[in-house]
C-alpha cells in the first residue's frame, strides 16, 4: 500500500513534525501547548520508526513494538504532565511557563 511512497517523504514529514514540535516547545508559553509540542516530537519519532522498519527490515516488527511503547509511555506521561499542570494551575492560577521560575538560583 505504501509501495509508491519513497522513504524520503516519511523522513521529511517526521523532520517537519519534529521541528514544529521543537519550535512549539521553545516558543509557546502555555504549558498545554508545550505538552502538545512534546507529543508532536514523540510522534515524529514514531513515524521514523515505522517507516524505517517497514522499508529496511520488512520481516521484523521491532520498530512497530517500539512505536507502541512510545505511544503508551506518552499517554502515561501526558496524564502525569496534565496532573502536574493542574496542580500548578491551582497554585499559581496560571499555566504560563515563564511564571514558573521557582527553581532558579
Amino acid at each position: 500500500m505504501f509501495e509508491g511512497v519513497p522513504l524520503t517523504w516519511f523522513l521529511i514529514t517526521g523532520t517537519i513534525m519534529f521541528f514544529v514540535g521543537i519550535y512549539g516547545f521553545l516558543v509557546r508559553k502555555n504549558l498545554i501547548t508545550i505538552l502538545m509540542s512534546t507529543e508532536l516530537i514523540l510522534n515524529s519519532v514514531n513515524i521514523n520508526f515505522v517507516a524505517f522498519n517497514k522499508i529496511l527490515y520488512p520481516g521484523h516488527l521491532e520498530g512497530m513494538f517500539f512505536t507502541i511503547f512510545i505511544i503508551a509511555v506518552a499517554a502515561a506521561e501526558a496524564s502525569v504532565a496534565i496532573a502536574i499542570i493542574i496542580n500548578i494551575y491551582r497554585r499559581l492560577v496560571s499555566i504560563n511557563v515563564e511564571k514558573m521560575d521557582e527553581m532558579k538560583y
Binding site: V97, M100, K104
Partner: protein, 640 residues
C-alpha cells in the same frame, strides 16, 4: 680549701621568701610578712659577711698571690650549642663578694626601714614579696658565673624594678614611670643581648672565668676589623656597655631614672640608688679584662660616664623635687664610677681607676641609700616631695637632720667622710689619664657640693613653712637604719680597698696625692659656701642668678628636653608613622587582598548563576542548540 657551697643559700632564701610571701602573704598579718622578710634578709646578711670574712681573710691566695676566682656552685641550666651552655651558680671573687655586702646591707636596712615607712599601706605584703624578689635577682646578678646568667638576673632586676616603681598602681604617673623604666632598659638590654651573642659566638663561651682569664679567647679571636673600623670584639663590648648604660642610667638612656622616683622611697633607696643602677658599672668591671684590650670601647665608657656626671649634676641644681635631685645626683655619681673604669689601666697601680670605681660604688651605696632613706623620713613627716614646701625641719627631725648632713658631707667629698676617699682616687686616676676628663669631674665635684647643700638648707634651714600638722621624727624602725648607714658613710672610707678589690686581684700601695686632694676639698667647700649663701636664709640671689642664666637655666630645669625628644621619636614617629600604618596596611592591603580573592570568587559565581534562570524554555534552547552543535561536530569529524 673552704667549702663555699652554702652561698647558694644567699640566693635561695630570698627566692623562698618571695614565693612564701608572694603566694600566702595575704593570709598573714602585714607585720608578720614584714618581719619574715626582714629576718630572712638578716640571715643572708650574716651569711654574706661570713663569706666575705672567709673569702678575704681565710681563703688561701692563688699561686701569684691574688685573690682566687672561685666557683662555689655551678650547675648546667640549659644546653645551647656544643660549646655554649647556660649555667647557674655562684662565682666568688673580690667584686662579687663586695657586692654581696653592699646589697645585703642596704637591702636589710631598707627592709627594716620599710616596716615603718610602709606601715598601713595597702599591699604591704606585696611590697615585701617584691623586695625579696629584687634581692634574689640582684644577688643572682652579682654572683653570676657567666654572662648569660647575669643577663637572666639582669632582666629579673628589671622586672622587680618595674613592679616596685609601679607599686602605687592606681596612680597614673607611677604606671607611666614604671612602663618607661622597663621599656628604656629593655631597649638597652637588646644591646646587651646582641653584645652577648657576638661575644659568645666569637669566643665560644659565656663563662666569666674563661673570658676574663689571662688566656681568654676574647684576646685572640674577633680582632679583625669588622664594621666601621672597629673589631668584632670592640663592637661586642660597646653593645654590652649599652646594656650597662641603660641599667645605670647613662646619657642618653637615663630618662627613666628620674621618673622612677614615683616608686616608694625605700625602693628608690635600694634599687635606684644603691644596687640596681650600679649594675652597669659592675658589668663593665666584670668584663674589665676584656675592655682593657678594646680601648675604643673603654673610651666610650669614660666619655659617656664623664658627660653624664656633668650633665646630671647641672640638672640636679635646678630641680625642686627632693627625690629627683637625688636621682640626678645618683646618675652623676654613677657617671663618676663609669669614668673611673674608663680611665683605668690593668694591674697594680695602673688599675687605680678600677679600684676607685669599686670603692666609690661601695661608699656611694651607703651615703646615697642614707640620703634616700632620709628623704623618705622627710616625706613621711611633711607629706610632700617639694623642697619649697619644706624648711626649718631641723628641730622636728633631729636624727634625720644629723644623718642627712653626714650623707651630704660624704657625697660632697669632705674628709674624713667616706665619699672623700673614693672620689679622690677617681680624680687622681682621671688626672693621670686625660686632663679634660679631669677638669669635667673637678667641676662636677663642686656642683655636687652645691646641689646637695642647696637641698640640705632648703629642707632643714630657712624659714619654716606652714605645715598641716606638726612634723614628727620617724619611728625607730626608720631611724635605726639611718643611724647605721650614717656610721657606714662615715667609716667605710677607711676600708683598705687597694688590698682587697683591685683589677688583677693583687694588692698595691697608694699614697694620697695632696696636690689633687686639696683642690678637690677646696672646690667642695666653695660649693657648700655658695649654697650656704644662697639657701641658708630666705633671699632671692638664687632666683636672680637663675634669671640671669636665662635659656640655659630653663633648659636645665626641663632636663634639656631629652624626654621630649624621646617622646617625639616614640609617640610621633614610631607610634604614628610606623605602627599605625602597619595596622592599616594589615587591615586594608594584606587582608584586603585575601578578601579580594574571596570577592572575585563570589562575583564570578554570581555571574555564573544567572544561567540557572528557572526558565524552562531557556534550558531547552541551550539543550537543543547544544545537541545540534554536537551533532554537527560529530558529523564533521566523522566525515573527515
Amino acid at each position: 680549701m673552704i667549702d663555699f657551697s652554702y652561698t647558694a643559700l644567699i640566693l635561695l632564701i630570698p627566692l623562698f621568701l618571695f614565693v612564701l610571701v608572694g603566694l600566702f602573704g595575704n593570709r598573714f598579718k602585714p607585720l608578720v610578712s614584714g618581719v619574715i622578710g626582714t629576718s630572712g634578709l638578716f640571715v643572708i646578711w650574716v651569711l654574706s659577711l661570713f663569706t666575705a670574712y672567709k673569702y678575704f681573710f681565710v681563703l688561701e691566695k692563688a699561686t701569684d698571690g691574688s685573690f682566687q676566682k672561685l666557683l662555689a656552685v655551678n650547675t648546667v641550666w640549659l644546653h645551647l650549642t656544643d660549646k655554649l651552655h647556660i649555667d647557674m651558680g655562684v662565682l666568688l671573687d673580690p667584686i662579687s663578694v663586695m657586692m654581696l655586702i653592699v646589697i645585703t646591707t642596704v637591702s636589710l636596712m631598707v627592709h627594716l626601714y620599710s616596716i615603718g615607712y610602709m606601715h598601713g599601706e595597702k599591699g604591704f605584703q606585696r611590697f615585701f614579696a617584691m623586695l625579696s624578689l629584687f634581692s634574689f635577682s640582684m644577688l643572682g646578678l652579682v654572683v653570676a658565673t657567666n654572662i648569660f646568667q647575669m643577663y637572666i638576673f639582669w632582666e629579673l632586676v628589671g622586672v622587680s624594678s618595674y613592679l616596685l616603681i609601679g607599686f602605687y598602681y592606681t596612680r597614673d604617673t607611677a604606671v607611666a614611670a614604671s612602663k618607661k623604666a622597663f621599656i628604656v632598659t629593655r631597649f638597652a638590654d637588646l644591646g646587651f643581648l646582641i653584645g652577648i651573642l657576638i661575644l659568645s659566638y666569637t669566643t665560644g663561651t659565656f663563662d666569666f672565668i674563661t673570658l676574663t682569664g689571662s688566656s681568654s679567647p676574647a684576646f685572640s679571636s674577633g680582632q679583625g676589623v669588622w664594621f666601621l673600623g672597629l673589631s668584632t670584639m670592640t663592637w661586642s663590648m660597646i653593645f654590652i656597655f649599652m646594656g650597662g648604660a641603660g641599667k645605670s642610667a647613662m646619657f642618653p638612656l637615663h630618662i627613666w631614672l628620674p621618673d622612677a622616683m614615683e616608686g616608694p622611697t625605700p625602693v628608690s633607696a635600694l634599687i635606684h640608688a644603691a644596687t640596681m643602677v650600679v649594675a652597669g658599672v659592675y658589668l663593665v668591671a666584670r668584663m674589665f679584662p676584656i675592655y682593657i684590650h678594646e680601648t675604643a670601647a673603654l673610651d666610650i665608657v669614660a666619655w659617656v660616664g664623664a658627660f653624664t656626671s656633668l650633665f646630671a649634676a647641672v640638672i640636679a641644681c635646678t630641680q625642686f623635687d627632693i627625690k629627683r635631685v637625688l636621682a640626678y645626683s645618683t646618675m652623676s655619681q654613677i657617671g663618676y664610677m663609669m669614668l673611673a673604669l674608663g680611665v683605668s689601666g690593668y694591674g697594680g697601680h695602673e688599675g687605680l681607676g678600677y679600684m676607685a670605681s669599686m670603692f666609690h660604688l661601695f661608699t656611694h651605696a651607703f651615703f646615697k641609700a642614707l640620703l634616700f632613706l632620709g628623704a623618705g623620713a622627710i616625706i613621711h613627716a611633711v607629706h610632700s616631695n617639694y623642697m619649697n614646701e619644706m624648711g626649718g625641719l631641723r628641730k622636728y627631725l633631729p636624727i634625720t637632720h644629723i644623718t642627712f648632713l653626714i650623707a651630704c658631707l660624704a657625697i660632697a667629698g669632705i674628709p674624713p667622710f667616706a665619699g672623700f676617699f673614693s672620689k679622690d682616687e677617681i680624680l687622681v686616676a682621671a688626672f693621670h689619664h686625660n686632663k679634660v676628663l679631669f677638669a669635667m669631674e673637678y667641676a662636677v665635684a663642686g656642683l655636687t657640693a652645691f646641689y646637695m647643700f642647696r637641698l640640705y638648707y632648703s629642707v632643714f634651714w630657712r624659714k619654716e613653712v606652714h605645715y598641716h600638722h606638726t612634723p614628727h621624727e620617724a619611728p625607730a624602725t626608720m631611724t635605726i637604719p639611718l643611724i647605721f648607714l650614717a656610721l657606714g658613710s662615715t667609716f667605710t672610707g677607711f676600708i683598705p680597698f687597694t688590698k682587697l678589690v683591685t683589677s688583677d686581684g693583687l694588692p698595691f700601695e697608694i699614697h694620697t696625692e695632696w696636690g689633687i686632694a686639696i683642690p678637690s676639698i677646696l672646690i667642695a667647700v666653695v660649693g657648700i659656701a655658695v649654697a650656704t649663701v644662697f639657701y641658708r636664709k630666705e633671699n632671692n640671689i638664687a632666683t636672680r642668678l637663675a634669671r640671669s642664666m636665662g635659656g640655659f637655666y630653663t633648659a636645665a630645669y626641663h632636663k634639656f628636653y631629652i624626654d621630649e625628644v624621646y617622646l617625639f621619636i616614640t609617640k610621633r614617629i614610631i607610634f604614628n608613622y610606623i605602627s599605625r600604618p602597619i595596622a592599616w596596611f594589615d587591615r586594608h592591603i594584606v587582608d584586603g587582598t585575601m578578601n579580594g580573592v574571596s570577592y572575585v570568587t563570589n562575583e564570578a559565581s554570581f555571574r555564573i548563576r544567572k544561567f540557572q534562570s528557572g526558565q524552562l524554555q531557556q534550558y531547552a534552547i541551550v539543550f537543543v542548540s547544544g545537541t545540534i552543535f554536537l551533532a554537527l561536530l560529530f558529523i564533521y569529524l566523522w566525515t573527515n
